[in-house]
Symmetry: D2
Subunit: 317 residues, 4 copies
């Protein structure tokens, strides 16, 4: 079932640093639109190469359909034309994902990011049918999102190439943590020059870019996009030492994800809450409120994040 | 935060055999309302003690919001007042579950079945907040649904009793497969006589009822509700031999869940597809179409289900 | 490869309560032979139907070959002829297990308990070859030991029946916690009357015996063998109420496994250390020293075990 | 408990390419000493920087104590003084590992490789006690071996630095596949210049060396040590392009691990059997016999390995 090339995808190449944009909330759990707009500007001004709205870092799992639409509309209004805009469509199965995908298209997104179905524990062939059905129904370029930690099922390389070679997907975002398999994607993508192989890693992006990754979707880029753009540019320029020392700096910054008390909250809340707290302290967003039922960092935990930012030179003491 | 007793729950005791009602589809993936109505009548006529609409067996993960509402409205119209009606609210996080819960209340359901949040990998205290928020927002009796195979997180006994003793939940449906922990629930429930301890097991219901379980939610009861009602009645009457031999018979019937080719489909599709195929062959529903992207059993697989039914005396040769 | 029936196994039927005998240590980590002898007498006097030396509860993984031999020789000297004696042979692969099995035969054991190989993550067919090779080499009756929590691989029912029907194994001890699968073993064993289907469960033995289990290998029987013999006898007599209330009592006693601080020790050390501490407090053994590197319960933890024993009526206040 | 520096470790720095040497067997499962000697020469002649005897690749889990000793004695006799010799001590708990460690010292090994205990599922503090006890008892330099896929428990970075900073271990071999955590080890090792941070990776060694790894322990180096030495030398020389293209070549060669039929054998047998078959085809060893109960590659599977070698230029067609 080889497809005609997408008109939209003809000009669409996902590459570089594409942060999964966090979702700022007001104290009453509404979307904080002014903060979101400020954040989008901050990211684009820092030189990122695209924006991924409604990713895992965006706490998309906690958002109602209506809230998702508001975020996409805000992104389109604010950023459209400046950088490519990707929309996550996270949901359990095909028909529900198609509803999200249609809303993303209506809102003007440039492409979709789609995971394997979950809750139902699908086979690889059911995953393939899932992607095909979404592509048929909506017609936007699709980047497959491999995140077995959240959805329980891994996209095998066979599945990826089946979908890529028939034209169903234009790239992959790999958040599996399986870097040996990722290298296999990179090697096998050498004969597929238009296919984007993006990593979700935040901690070894230099290595993965040097090995040939097309780009990265680092959650912590919400806090410090300049650092990731610097890594990307350094690798492009062959300056691996700069890339490495910048990655080492950002690795240490990642300590902000470990400030939450895991007796109170899950790892996800601690990590994403660390991002939001750092963004709040840096003035990018107004609160560190989390999507329900995730727990917000308390004063003591905020103080820990603050001291990491100060130590890292991102905040005055 | 002890709650006033619910008016609704005052008369609400979930017990006995409460099948998770399958969702019949037409060839074009619409809800097959006549089949659903026939199935509801069949179950009630068989003597079941309640119906659980929108369970895992109902392929709820594949259903759009609109389809879920149609199913609940059909159940209310057809069954209301004859048996208690429970509605599953499966979704990833609090606000989305509240939307489903409100629709269930509007449709006239008698109670809700709520899992832990998923995708976000919550802590137990986040799970507790999740249940509290839903109860505050909607006010229907809630049965907690422990299904770590689908949602990755287990409800600990501490979480269950925190929620039960403050009045947030009125029962639990345990589909964890951890029968040693389930016995702990039963022992600790001896001092909580109004709390329902239901098992999702299909294979050892006799043992769990003898040990004190309030009832069962067996998916395969869609195919043969009479058998499960017979087990329940036998245990109530102290006739354990009958219960055991009936359970042994139904254990063998469970072979219909293993007819799907796992190279083509996931275990979920094979199991639920086995149920639907058997129901189709027995004339209860019109097709064995599955919610997308799950794979439908093909002719060879249907033939395997048929021969199991014939061997089990549920179908003429 | 159907085998001639074993002379030894002709008279060998493993059934009833067969405790996995704990290994008492002196303060200097030697085997405490007098305590071991006292423990063996205590168990046999309580009416147990066999003894399983060198089980998981015996901390066999921590024992050198020489220490294992001393334990087997002590058991043979003390118990031989009074009850059947089984010997665990826990090790990673075939040739090493054969060495343990030969030592067990030399020491006069009546049968072997053999797990799947580990570290090497075998296939089911490699597991089958493993059992066949041990049986060929040593010629004692073998009970297969399904304990995936320790060895990572589960024995499938197909594997069990392949080995049983060709005469390689005479029974199974199931410590998998998968009670639905265990029921399948029981149903399929109905046509194999000489095959022992033993459970390793300590928490729902009444249910499993009622469902047809041949017997049980409960670790906590080291502390209170009389209780388990009482359950077994009650089920044999059809007095399920007594069996249930006795199991409920022993379920609560199992709290002694949760007294260790998991920041200091693993769950295994906490559980087995709880057993040993209770045995020490009841005067059966001299110390609660653990096999290295497992951590011994400290004074505060011993006090917790003591109060559970007092509450349970097993120790005077 | 800071230790005096080891005399032995003063001159001991583990770095570079240190293959885990395969164990050649005769048709009757004896150690094939001539093949082992030939293999050792082949490796040293290829320029490897050390040899790791009795690693996971050596099928150590299948070897009796006596066979392990023969292998170590052969290695000492053949290689002593030419390259550092490390000995694996794989076993379940402390006293058993000490027995292996003493034998290694007696055989003249230069250092030990020690995993976490297994079967008993230890805590991190029990793991720490395990390493301390071995070091106290034997006094050889210890490299910690992190291989959670085989032993179920991961060595945390906290555990590693506790052991390193007190002088208990001199390095780590990381076969966990968690490359983000490995980067953390590398960053934190920047202030510990004498600590070896080795990777067990075979598939992305170039990236890990560029990121600062001290060296690598690649199983497939048994088949093609020259390739790995070339990667190491290229990275040392700053020639990352050569390292990358050589790694890409060896990645493709890794297809020899996927020739075994997983319906017959486990992944371990397929992988290690692929290595041994390739070594046999290249004339380094006499047979592809595996340690029991692992399954040997059959003729059809050998043919697959052969064609991969031919395609990779390692064998004439």
């Amino acid at each position: 079932m080889r497809k005609e090339p997408f008109v939209t995808s003809a000009s669409f190449v996902l590459k570089g640093i594409v942060p999964p944009v966090a979702t700022p909330f007001t104290e009453s759990h509404d979307i904080d639109i002014p903060s979101l707009e400020r954040l989008i500007d901050f990211q684009i001004d820092a030189g990122v190469h695209g924006l991924f709205m409604l990713g895992s870092t965006s706490e998309t799992a906690t958002l109602t359909f209506a809230k998702r639409v508001r975020i996409l509309e805000t992104a389109a209004r604010k950023a459209k034309g400046r950088v490519p805009l990707m929309a996550g469509t996270m949901d359990m199965a095909t028909e529900r994902v198609i509803e999200h995908a249609r809303a993303a298209k209506d809102a003007g997104m440039d492409g979709l990011v789609v995971t394997a179905p979950y809750y139902i524990r699908p086979s690889q062939s059911e995953i393939i049918e899932h992607f095909r059905a979404i592509r048929e129904a909506v017609g936007l370029p699709i980047v497959a999102y491999d995140i077995p930690g959240a959805v329980q099922t891994k996209l095998t390389r066979e599945t990826v190439w089946t979908l890529a070679d028939e034209g169903t997907i234009v790239g992959i975002k790999d958040s599996s943590g399986d870097e040996a398999n990722f290298r296999g994607l990179l090697i096998e993508a050498q004969s597929r020059p238009h296919f984007s192989v993006m990593t979700g890693s935040e901690l070894i992006i230099d290595s993965l870019l040097i090995a040939g990754a097309t780009g990265s979707v680092p959650g912590i880029a919400n806090v410090d996009p300049h650092g990731f753009v610097k890594i990307y540019d350094a690798v492009q320029a062959g300056d691996y030492e700069t890339a490495k020392s910048e990655q080492d700096r950002l690795y240490k910054l990642f300590a902000i994800t470990r400030c939450g008390d895991l007796a109170r909250m899950g790892w996800t809340a601690s990590a994403l809450g660390g991002f939001k707290t750092a963004m709040m302290l840096r003035g990018m967003i107004a609160t560190n409120v989390m999507g329900r039922p995730m727990t917000r960092l308390n004063d003591a935990e905020v103080a820990k994040v603050r001291s990491i930012l100060v130590e890292g030179g991102l905040l005055d003491a």
